[in-house]
Amino acid sequence: MAKSKMFTAQTIKRFTSVHSWVGIVTGMALFIAFFAGALTMYAGSMHLWANPALRQSSGSMAQVQTLVDAVGAHRASKGNFSVAFGQDGRPVASFFEGGTGRTFQRHTRVIDDQSAVVPRKTVSGIEHFINGIHYTMGLPKYPGYTLMGIVSAVYFLALVTGVLIHLPHMMADLYALRTGRNLKKMWLDAHNAIGILSLPFHIMFAFTGFLICLFFLLTPVMEKIMPTTDASAAYQQGGGRRGGGRDEASSPAARMMPASQTIAIATGRVDGLEPTGISYSGYGTTSAKATVKGHFPTALAATGSVEISPVSGTILKVDVPGARSTARVLEQGYLFLHYGDYGGQVIRAAYFILGLGGAFLFYSGNLLWIETRRKRRHAEQMMTGWVMAKVTVGICLGCCLGIAVALWGTRLLAAELADRGKWEGNLYYIGFFAAVMWATARPPIRAAIEILFACAAAYAALPLLNALLTHENLFYALRHGLWDVAVIDVLLGTLGIGFFAMGRATLRRASNGQPNSVWSLTSRPVEPRTAPAAISQPDEALA
């Protein structure tokens, strides 16, 4: 192993200690963020998987005007609505009724087989809930965002110290996976290899996660510190976000140009714009605005919009790649880097795999911490390792189980149930806290095996449940091009298999592995009062 010239051995040891403790403190929050975040890469598909009614639409781009006319004339829409060009160009219109805040009700309209505009009920918002777990760990919104922002900053520090530790011998040790009797070395090598190989991805996530979670807090703090607020004001002026749909019903009535013509003006103005939807405000009045939204497959900030007056056809605003200010490019850049929305299905799949790999990194980090503190010559294990194992199992696997239970709720809860969305959320917490309590009550190894098998059963059964309740099984979905359903079914089935494999490996380790460990069926915690002096310290320090 090459010796570091940049830092003394003592400094490397100090950074190792910081890396370990920072990792332990933030590891479980990051596990939740990465596992839930990996699932949100398929949020759009999950939305359709969870709302079978939305899949039963037909129509084509040629019928967009029928939908626009019907929804624009609907009293509750007040002229503010949007039309998304969904799967295979089937248009889906949506609008909100009941004002602002949490009181609004979402309405969806689609075109059926007889070319009639019919309502479709959106019963589940599970993808939004999982996204919330990703950003807040299930805590209330602002405390959750703040905590996750701080966790991201500390995670960045853990990455920096981790790189400084491994920098001198990074290439030499990268592919050295020491499999053998010393499990600690194997876990350490696996942790280091995954950490180094996915380092750019982790640096990007720590950086963008911090900004996304704390931007709302950092802006006013910086305004207080800065000598003047000129820069902040310039930023907010240039990138100011518009509010929701305005009520323009008081303006005089006016004739609207067809949606197809509005879209043609937008695509004629911006090369490479692939329209994905159109939003209207004040439809049917002189002050109406139509925003044609589109996708740019090769741009980092892959979405853009062109705002047009549907009365005169005048272009009011263009917000597309190449026409943005530097500040807006930077802001959009970090958002899209985090969302992985710029490289199609390949990047989406890569983010999903790297997200799960990241979750494994934090789980293996905690296992390492426990493994280095085990007593090799005693069945009794130190209480610190015992408690850490319980907490790791309860919280990390609790999140996995909670999401599975919530997904069961999307399938089994009655569509007419009042506050159905809230119940889906409650089911997550039921699953999560059940796992935490189970891990507290049982020895950690038994709890780990049982919860892993529970997760395996819960995830593997979801595609079957979907097939039973919607008659759209995986094979039907593949045959009829229901790719969103197929993707989620495959993903959930794969997770089920993955949890089963992990449960089996844990069971094998518990039965046949080294006995003097928290992860052995024969281990037990040492009673603090009766702890012999000989086992009051771990065998070796964290290497």
Partner: protein, 88 residues
């Protein structure tokens, strides 16, 4: 080997110093005001990490406290003078 003192110094003064330096960048950075503001926010975490590493690397905790306090003092003084001069 203990480095608790360095860690406290880096956390307390290092966090304040990184905010102060980023605020100075936002005010006096070379780009457009809006761009300077976004880049200042972008620099916050890397700068904070660099300061944390610098502080943790000190063998003598006093050098961490003195160095960071001096840097924070200078940055704060510049901010105050700029605020008075620019009328913020």
């Amino acid at each position: 080997m203990t480095y608790r003192s360095q860690a406290v110094a880096s956390s307390v003064f290092g966090t304040a110093l990184s905010f102060a330096l980023c605020a100075l960048y936002a005010q006096f950075g070379p780009g457009e005001p809006a761009t300077n503001f976004v880049i200042a926010l972008f620099l916050l975490v890397p700068l904070w990490s660099a300061i944390m590493v610098w502080g943790l690397k000190r063998e003598d905790p006093r050098t961490a406290w003195i160095g960071l306090a001096a840097a924070l003092g200078i940055a704060s003084a510049v901010l105050i003078v700029a605020r008075e001069t620019l009328g913020g």
